[in-house]
């Protein structure tokens, strides 16, 4: 039995609107061990919200409710905001979609990485600097000293995302949430960034939640996959058995992708059954 | 029943004609505008102001110009003079009511002159381009870089004090922002495909500017003009206060404050009442402008 890092039970994310309460995430349960867990779904399926809700990053008026969100047996939802800050970055971290927007444009890259480290480690500036340079080397940045002095807009997308990974891993967290980490990148560098992330996650024995809309990528990269639709988990399966998925939504998604080994004249259009969004969420617990 | 069908006709997703679509869009804009309480308050105040100005002779209890030196500086609530009288015994309420006419007159004139000048300069500059654009925009920049009130003061100094000259001076300082807006709009419209299509059909520059570019600049200009109205009223009142706008005995609000200033410590209401009037009207324009911006130009608000 794999050691459980994160245990989410019955997670809801709600947004009160003028037309009543909108449920972005509806009763999602899953566990995460030292594995690569993929969450797949279309935009608006609640996959990003799930990631952010774990870190309690949903801003008011949004509401996060759950029976529990346990990290090593301690419920994160019961922590004070101050205690929660000790969790963010240090124990659970997150890499976002586009480094163009997720790095502060008016701070040097060095300052941002050093800041991430010093928030959780009482290190001198020189030590933090050394540490940051090491981390940049670990994500295969050439000439890290120069990059430390550079501003984000001077970096390419692939470099930016590697810098982002370095920054998020420097406090040595136990869990990394990667929210569409390669969607904004050129196809040519996607694989490289994924490999670097994969290597670091493995080396450090971390748990990874990999959020993506790209079924093939997730099937390829993860160990286990949750498929979300309309705020619910509709199916859970091992990544290598994804193509045997039973839920009509997953099948529909798979059938709407072009395949080289089975070319077709016309791709299927996904037909949605309103019943899917009414059904209970499937548990992703192990 | 008939009303119900009219509503349905206006809210349709499938308009049957261009006019139908236009009316429908207008109605939907109105619906969203109506839900903005503050903007409706602003609109209400302005409509009331117009009615008051139109019906001034009927509403005002006294002749605004008739002096009554025996009854000068009467306090608030005096019999027959609810808002008291000024230093020459004239009824303040009546003067305020007649003053609404002057305020509306100034606002209407500036609102006619400045945006039209700006629209002309901006669209020509944007459409013709080249050195015309450079020269016109340089001139616009120069006027933009000017301190507005001081420039208006200098103009009035040269032209002589008076209400028309005040209007000209304010207009001269108010047009550059409109030119900027109109130019920016023109530049985006000019490069669009349908303009090329009209050009291919043989339409000349004049026709394209007046028939196709102007109508599209109007909505952003209206928003800007409404938001600027408050500033125009304040500038006009300021000129009046300095004795450079409307001349006595004209019941212009700024000039009334100036008169009342001498008695501010002992007879505070003489200067206070016209100030409240100015404040109310410019507040109304600001509220209305905010509401209009939300409807016509949602991107500009937050």
């Amino acid at each position: 039995m794999m050691q459980t890092l994160l245990d989410v039970e019955n997670l809801w994310v709600k947004f009160p609107t003028r037309q009543g309460v909108f449920d972005a995430v509806r009763g999602v349960s899953f566990t995460l061990g030292k594995e690569r867990l993929g969450i797949v779904g279309e935009s608006g399926s609640g996959k990003s919200m799930t990631g952010r809700a774990i870190l309690r990053l949903i801003r008011p008026p949004g509401i996060v409710e759950a029976d529990h969100v346990k990290l090593d047996g301690v419920d994160l939802l019961r922590k004070s905001e101050k205690d929660m800050r000790a969790v963010r970055g240090q124990r659970i971290s997150m890499v976002m979609q586009d480094p163009k927007f997720s790095l502060n444009p008016v701070m040097t890259i060095g300052a941002q990485i050093i800041e991430a480290y010093r928030l959780h480690n009482s290190a001198s500036k020189t030590d933090a600097h050394t540490k940051a340079v090491e981390m940049l080397e670990a994500v295969s940045i050439r000439n890290p000293e120069r990059v430390m002095r550079a501003y984000p807009h001077e970096m390419s997308g692939g470099m930016g995302q590697r810098i982002m990974i370095a920054m998020m891993l420097i406090p040595n967290p136990e869990i990394l949430i990667a929210d569409e980490p390669t969607s904004a990148l050129d196809v040519s560098v996607q694989r490289q960034v994924l490999d670097i992330m994969d290597k670091l996650v493995k080396e450090r024995g971390m748990g990874l939640i990999f959020i993506s809309h790209d079924l093939n990528l997730v099937a390829d990269f993860c160990d286990r996959v949750l498929i979300m639709y309309a705020g619910r988990i509709v199916e859970v399966c091992d990544a290598d058995k994804l193509h045997e998925a039973k839920h009509p939504y997953t099948q529909g998604l798979l059938n709407s992708l072009p395949r080289l080994d089975a070319p077709r004249d016309r791709l299927e259009v996904l037909k949605r059954d309103p019943e899917w969004s009414k059904a209970q969420s499937v548990s992703g617990r192990v | 029943m008939a009303e119900q069908t009219l509503r349905a006709w206006l809210l349709t997703d499938t308009p049957s004609s261009r006019r139908h679509a236009k009316l429908s869009a207008l109605y939907q804009g109105w619906l969203s505008f109506r839900s903005n309480t503050m903007a409706m308050v602003g609109l209400g105040i302005l409509i009331a102001l117009m009615l008051i100005a139109a019906a001034a002779p009927l509403l005002s209890p006294h002749d605004p110009f008739v002096q009554d030196l025996g009854n000068r500086l009467a306090p608030l609530g005096t019999e027959g003079h609810i808002l008291g009288t000024d230093s020459l015994g004239r009824d303040i309420l009546s003067r305020l009511i007649y003053g609404a006419r002057i305020t509306l007159y100034i606002v209407a004139l500036v609102a006619l002159i400045a945006p039209v000048v700006g629209l002309l300069v901006g669209t020509v500059s944007g459409y013709v381009g080249g050195w015309v654009d450079i020269v016109l925009m340089r001139i616009t920049d120069i006027f933009l870089a000017f301190p507005r009130l001081v420039l208006a003061l200098a103009f009035v100094a040269a032209l002589g004090a008076g209400i028309e000259n005040a209007v000209i001076a304010i207009s001269l300082t108010a047009w550059p922002p409109y030119a900027r807006i109109a130019r920016a709009e023109t530049l985006t419209i000019r490069s669009s495909d349908y303009i090329s299509a009209i050009q291919l059909q043989g339409a000349g520059g004049f026709r394209i500017i007046t028939k196709h570019i102007w109508p599209l600049c109007i909505s952003s200009l209206i928003v800007r003009v409404t938001l600027d109205m408050a500033g125009i009223i304040l500038a006009a009142a300021g000129l009046g206060f300095l004795g450079l706008g409307a001349q006595p005995p004209s019941p212009e609000w700024g000039a009334m404050i100036s008169e009342g200033r001498r008695f501010i410590l002992d007879h505070w209401w003489v200067a206070t009442m016209p100030g409240l009037a100015i404040f109310t009207v410019s507040l109304a324009f600001n509220l209305l402008g905010d509401g209009l911006r939300d409807v016509l130009d949602p991107k500009a608000g937050e």
Binding site: - | F143, L149, L151, A158, G238, A271, G275, F279, E302
Partner: protein, 352 residues
């Protein structure tokens, strides 16, 4: 071959760094704008009045005075030459002599300007110290009652006639409550007590160590300065709010939160850092606006600054003084505009 090509390019770039071009462009635009300013004042002063000589000498002047002024103004020469003379004079800070006191206008302006500077500076300090935090809080707590209050404060500021609010302030705080000094820069017993070093009474009194004068001067300046402060506050707080809202919804803010940063640091170290340059632009513009906006305030508070000077000159048809004052205020206005532009280019890493 490829290498030498590369080298040459490198040298070309070294010989003409981009800031040279930027500076040249900026200087050019300053020159053109100032020329435009002078052209407009020239038109106002020399062309628009039906008879510029009459505007100066008045209707009762003798023919010989009239002729003397006519020649002095160079009105016998073509307009272009007149304009060239005018520019020449202004470049030498010669705005002619005042009709009222026969002194050079430039001397008068140098004498009255510190009063305006002192007032506007204190005003902008009040506006920034209150307006910026108010705008930040309104953005951070969007929709809260603080935000509503900030909105009303700004709306009232946009809608209020400044001269009327000044009168009401005088009535309440001076007339009724007696908390502040009345009109003027200092009370009658404190005039010319401290030596004028900078022309700013608060500074002069502090330098002299005369705290009585300082207190009195402060009680006189605080009301008009608060008034100007309020009007700049309305603008500054609104702009701060919208800049901050834009930044707070940016993704790098989420990054900062993910790092485990406190909300205070997220707001001030990350979001605020990104609006500083924009904010300085806004502050520079409202400072320029205050130098001008002080015209009406100075009248209300009998403040002997450039606004009072221009207005008094205006009412006595002293055209040289009016135009001199206009040119000076205009020049400061333009310089502040350009200064804020430059700041943008220097301090935003993306602008390089």
């Amino acid at each position: 071959m490829a290498l030498s090509e590369e080298n040459r390019k490198g040298r070309d770039r070294a010989s003409l760094p981009p800031w040279v071009k930027t500076t040249a462009l900026t200087m050019g635009s300053i020159a053109v704008t100032m020329l435009g300013l002078l052209f407009v004042t020239f038109i106002i002063g020399r062309v628009m009045p039906i008879d510029p000589v009459l505007a100066i000498v008045g209707e009762r002047a003798s023919q010989s005075t009239y002729d003397a002024v006519y020649l002095e103004l160079g009105l016998d020469k073509p307009l272009v030459v007149q304009f060239a003379y005018y520019i020449w004079d202004v470049l030498h800070l010669d705005f002619g002599t005042s009709l009222l006191n026969a002194r050079p206008v430039s001397e008068d302006i140098a004498r009255v300007f510190p009063a305006t500077l002192e007032l506007a500076t204190l005003g902008i300090i009040i506006g920034v110290v209150i307006g910026v935090p108010l705008g930040v809080i309104a953005a951070v707590r969007k929709g809260s009652w603080t935000d509503q209050v900030a909105r009303v404060v700004a709306l009232v500021g946009y809608s209020m006639p400044i001269f009327w609010l000044g009168l009401m302030g005088l009535l309440i705080f001076y007339g009724i409550l007696g908390w502040v000094g009345g009109p003027g820069r200092v009370g009658i017993f404190y005039v010319d007590v401290v030596p004028s070093v900078t022309g700013l009474i608060l500074v002069d009194a502090a330098l002299d160590g005369n705290w009585d004068v300082f207190k009195n001067a402060f009680s006189h300046i605080i009301l008009p300065a608060s008034l100007l402060g309020y009007f700049s506050l309305a603008y500054i707080s609104r702009m701060t709010r919208s800049f901050m809202l834009e930044q707070l919804s940016a993704e790098y803010i989420t990054t900062a939160r993910v790092k485990g940063m406190s909300e205070w640091d997220v707001v001030w170290k990350h979001a605020f850092k990104n609006i500083r340059v924009q904010l300085v632009t806004v502050i520079a513009l409202s400072y320029a606006g205050l130098l001008e906006g002080s015209v009406l305030t100075e009248i209300i508070f009998s403040w002997p600054g450039i606004g009072s000077y221009i207005t008094t000159a205006l009412l006595s048809a002293d055209m040289n003084a009016v135009l001199g004052g206009t040119v000076v205020v205009g020049l400061i206005f333009i310089l502040l505009n350009i200064f804020s532009d430059l700041l943008y280019k220097v301090f935003d890493p993306r602008a390089k």
